[in-house]
């Protein structure tokens, strides 16, 4: 497997995933799992997770665990909303990035300069950030027309675009053909489903989503092909080796953690943008910073893997968002059952009996649940995605490898 290029490998995984979704839809006589709207909503959910995950990547590749992503994201939501309302959408993004970056700077000062335990500092930031935003809301949002202590007025967006030819976007004023939409309408097995999902990914995408997606190859290039990247990574692997070669480890850690916060801030700006909420609401990040960390772990601390994790975790959230009667989430349980069955077989072939038994048991529970019910109660629609994240991590996290010096306190001159 190792010799297959990463992008091809991930594409194959995705194709198999769509195949499963299509099959399940066949049983349930619905198209909600592979509808263009589903992938669109998956992308909207995946973008903040991706940005937070890439943020986590910068911090952890520099050796600092950033559990404060959530808090930095909260700062991003508030400043993103306030900036967009008062100065316009792009200013909202700039302010959100700066605010997140300040959160990162705080984390860097605590962990790098003062050697505070990374988890403690991160938790402190997660507690501090909602306090700060609450205070700012009471001072500032309440003075705005339509704002209150817990929410902002409507937040304007930076706009969207639709890819021409493939997704039916306009070139100038001419409406181009809608290639994927056309295939999707043919109802060809699998092909139409893939096309439908692809159309969703190309229709009315926010510019921020585009930036987030382009960041993936850019970050891969930056961290693995440039001097900056090599020096940043040595800080996460063996900072003493960097120091011995005259590299200022503290500086690179600072840069990594500040970028980390800035990306989380950007994620926050996306959450309040009209693509997702169109408003700032207190408590609206709902743990997406942590899910970003989960995507980072799932992606084995690599950018493309983080994207995979973000899409994987974004999907059930996206489905849940559109799922008013609980039927799509209900289908998703069967997908889970199949996935767990696959994990069980995979674990069994590697003679990991414990894993296989656990996956099998969970899979049977999911299958039984699917068979004994028709829809999913509201509360489960909201919980299910988190459960999926948890299960995925249980089975994947043990074979991954994080940067060797990740989370360790580094003091210059100590060995």
């Amino acid at each position: 497997m190792a010799k297959i290029p990463a992008w091809l490998r991930w594409s194959l995984y995705a194709a198999v995933g769509v195949l499963v979704l299509t099959t399940v839809q066949g049983f349930d006589d619905t198209d909600s799992l592979t509808a263009a709207g589903s992938s669109q909503s998956m992308l909207r959910w995946a973008v903040p997770i991706l940005l937070a995950g890439l943020g986590g990547l910068f911090a952890e590749r520099a050796g600092v665990v950033n559990i404060g992503l959530e808090g930095m994201m909260i700062l991003g939501t508030w400043f993103g909303a306030w900036g967009a309302v008062v100065y316009g959408p792009w200013w909202g993004i700039v302010l959100a990035v700066l605010a997140g970056g300040m959160g990162g700077l705080l984390h860097a000062i605590a962990t790098v300069t003062f050697g505070v335990d990374h988890i403690i500092s991160g938790v402190a930031i997660n507690i501090l950030a909602p306090g700060i935003t609450r205070f700012l809301s009471s001072e500032i949002l309440t003075t705005l027309e339509g704002g209150s202590i817990t929410q902002s007025p409507r937040v304007p967006g930076v706009g969207t675009f639709t890819v021409p030819i493939f997704g039916g976007g306009n070139i100038g004023t001419w409406q181009s053909p809608d290639f994927f939409g056309w295939i999707a309408a043919r109802e060809w097995f699998l092909v139409s489903d893939i096309a439908s999902l692809a159309k969703g990914l190309m229709t009315r995408i926010s510019w921020v989503s585009l930036i987030a997606l382009l960041l993936v190859p850019f970050v891969a290039w930056l961290l693995w092909r440039t001097r900056f990247g090599l020096r940043l990574r040595i800080c996460g692997e063996r900072p003493q080796a960097g120091e011995a070669q005259g590299i200022n480890v503290y500086r690179y850690k600072y840069i990594g953690v500040v970028i980390s916060g800035a990306l989380s801030g950007l994620a926050g700006a996306f959450i309040v943008s009209p693509e997702l909420s169109g408003i700032y609401l207190e408590g609206q990040t709902t743990g997406r910073g942590f899910i970003g960390l989960a995507a980072l772990i799932f992606g084995n601390w690599r950018p493309l893997g983080v994207l995979g994790g973000a899409l994987l975790f974004g999907y059930p959230f996206g489905i849940g968002l559109r799922d008013l009667d609980g039927s799509a989430s209900h289908s998703l349980i069967l997908v889970n059952a199949i996935g767990l069955g696959a994990v069980a077989i995979w674990a069994a072939t590697r003679r990991k009996r414990g894993d296989a038994a656990l996956a099998l048991a969970l899979g049977l529970v999911a299958a039984g649940w699917y068979l004994l019910s028709d829809t999913l109660p509201d509360v489960w629609i909201n919980i299910l995605p988190f459960v999926i994240v948890l299960i995925v991590l249980i089975f994947f996290a043990q074979r991954l490898r994080m940067p060797a010096a990740d989370g360790l306190r580094y003091r210059r001159g100590e060995h």
Binding site: R225, T226, R227, F228, L230, R231, R233, I234, E237, R238, Q240, A241, G242, E243, A244, Q245, G246, I247, R351, R401, P403, A404, G413, H415
Partner: protein, 506 residues
């Protein structure tokens, strides 16, 4: 000949100690110069000063005749000085190439690394000095000797002409040491100046052109190898007579204390770590296990101690099976343990000595009274250990990290010995401690052996293994591949068994 390095009156003080006390050192261009001394004699501090990692409080340094003052390693690198650290400064998950170019990356526009240029420069350096290595290997896949070569290439890549090697042989087996020495001579012939720290005297005598001996932070002598013997050097280092690990008469009895039968240990991925190992240790016997690190010795000790699950096989202590009982009960039944990494497994560094002395014995007299810790009992026991085992500390309340490595080790040895173990598992009991402390640890093991303690000894120091053991078994890839008599085997032969170059004749 010109002086490559000249240090005059270098003094460096740390709170409470003078690490270097007006040290003078003069290294000629193109020579191999050895620095000898016990741990704590100030060798490492001196090298760190020379490499810009620390700044001297007084004194002058000259490199190639020019006076210099380094505030960071990069300045030393610019002056042509390179350092090969004892603990390799390599990132395991990066490639050889990435490790080598780190900090001196050739770049194109936008800070892109010019990997082609880096590769060809690496190849050129390798060819010039006759050192070869695959640039795309991950460091974690390399043998210890190869990693060291990467370190040396790393230094040469930066154009260093003066190389500082900090205890380069500490991690190598004899065959690798020979390879290293060949490389060192090659470097010297190509015009490099080498400065190396070592306290294995036969090695120093074999390779050095000049030897400087440090003791208590002062230079006590600078000699030529043909003027002195190993014995003379040792006395210069210690300031008194030379200890040896040799035990005199056998104290082996007929009572089997520890019996290991067909032991199989695997890791999480089912890779075999300890492969069908059987042996017995009788009371009063020391069984030494020789092996290149990573061949299952550590896992064997873990299994006997109980910190690692056993897949199959049987372990018995004084005839009673202990394979499945937890670590604490094994300890209570009389298994003593000197861990190979005292900082990770032996001590709680920020905790006071008396708490450290209770570790592993926290359920036993005199450390407990009922369900509580008996502070007074623990302290008086620790005081006893301090006196009996010569742990140099102002009192038993100081934190363990305040002690030097040798004293920390003596505390651990004292802790285990005072509990009177039936079986002692000693993993590298004298690693990284100075000659004086080493001799005391050897004496402690010998004394306990005479009283009937059975010892499983693991050591990378082959002289120690040969000197202390009654029997030596060789471990290779998890298997016991040979049993040798320490009275007749030479370190060279032992090394050959350890690398698999030599097999036991049936």
């Amino acid at each position: 000949m010109a002086q490559a390095i000249e240090l005059i009156g270098i003094t460096k003080r740390f709170p409470g100690v003078v690490a270097n006390d007006s040290v003078n050192l003069s290294v000629e261009e193109g020579e191999i110069h050895a620095i000898c001394g016990e741990n704590g004699a100030g060798k490492s501090t001196l090298m760190k000063i020379l490499y810009g990692m620390q700044q001297p409080d007084a004194g002058t340094m000259k490199v190639d005749g020019r006076e210099v003052r380094f505030t960071s390693p990069s300045q030393a690198i610019d002056a042509g000085i390179g350092m090969v650290h004892q603990h390799f400064m390599l990132a395991d998950q990066l490639t050889v190439l990435e490790n080598v170019i780190l900090g001196a990356e050739p770049t194109k526009a936008f800070g892109r690394i010019d990997f082609e240029e880096a590769r060809s420069h690496l190849k050129q350096v390798g060819e010039a000095y006759g050192l070869t290595i695959d640039p795309d290997d991950l460091v974690e896949e390399l043998e210890v000797g190869e990693r060291q070569r990467v370190e040396i290439i790393k230094v040469l890549y930066r154009g260093a002409k003066i190389l500082i090697l900090d205890e380069p042989t500490a991690v190598l087996v004899p065959q690798e040491v020979e390879e290293l020495f060949r490389n060192m001579r090659g470097l010297k012939n190509d015009g490099a100046t080498l400065l190396f720290i070592d306290h294995k005297l036969d090695e120093v005598l074999a390779i050095a052109d000049t030897i400087t001996v440090l003791r208590d932070g002062k230079t006590v002598a600078t000699v030529k190898p043909d003027e002195v013997t190993a014995h003379d050097l040792a006395e210069l280092m210690v300031g008194s007579e030379l200890p040896t690990p040799e035990t005199t008469e056998s104290t082996v009895t007929d009572v089997v204390a520890l019996e290991v039968d067909s032991l199989l240990v695997v890791d999480l991925e089912d890779r075999v770590l300890v492969d069908d190992v059987s042996f017995r240790i009788r009371r009063g016997e020391v069984v030494g296990i020789a092996g290149v690190e990573g061949n299952g010795q550590a896992e064997l000790v873990d299994a006997v101690l109980g910190t690692r699950p056993v897949k199959s096989g049987k372990i018995s202590l004084m005839g009673e099976e202990i394979t499945l009982i937890p670590v604490r009960e094994r300890r209570e039944k009389g298994i003593g343990y000197i861990p190979q990494d005292r900082h990770r497994e032996g001590l709680l560094l920020p905790a006071p000595l008396w708490e450290n002395a209770a570790l592993g014995h926290q359920t036993q007299e005199p450390f407990t009274s009922g369900p509580f810790i008996d502070r007074d009992g623990a302290k008086s026991r620790t005081e006893h250990i301090r006196q009996e085992f010569d742990v140099r500390t102002p009192n038993v309340e100081v934190a363990a990290h305040a002690l030097s490595g040798g004293n920390q080790q003596k505390l651990i040895v004292g802790r285990e010995m005072t509990a009177g173990p039936v079986v002692l598992l000693a993993a590298h009991p004298t690693r990284g401690i100075d000659v004086g402390a080493q001799a005391e640890v050897w004496d402690d093991i010998k004394a306990a052996r005479a009283l009937g303690m059975a010892t499983l000894l693991i050591s990378a120091d082959l002289d120690e293994l040969i000197g202390l053991s009654d029997t030596i078994v060789v471990m290779l890839r998890g298997k016991l591949v040979a049993t040798v008599d320490p009275a007749t085997v030479s370190p060279r032969d032992l090394g050959a068994y350890m690398t698999g170059a030599k097999q036991e004749s049936a």
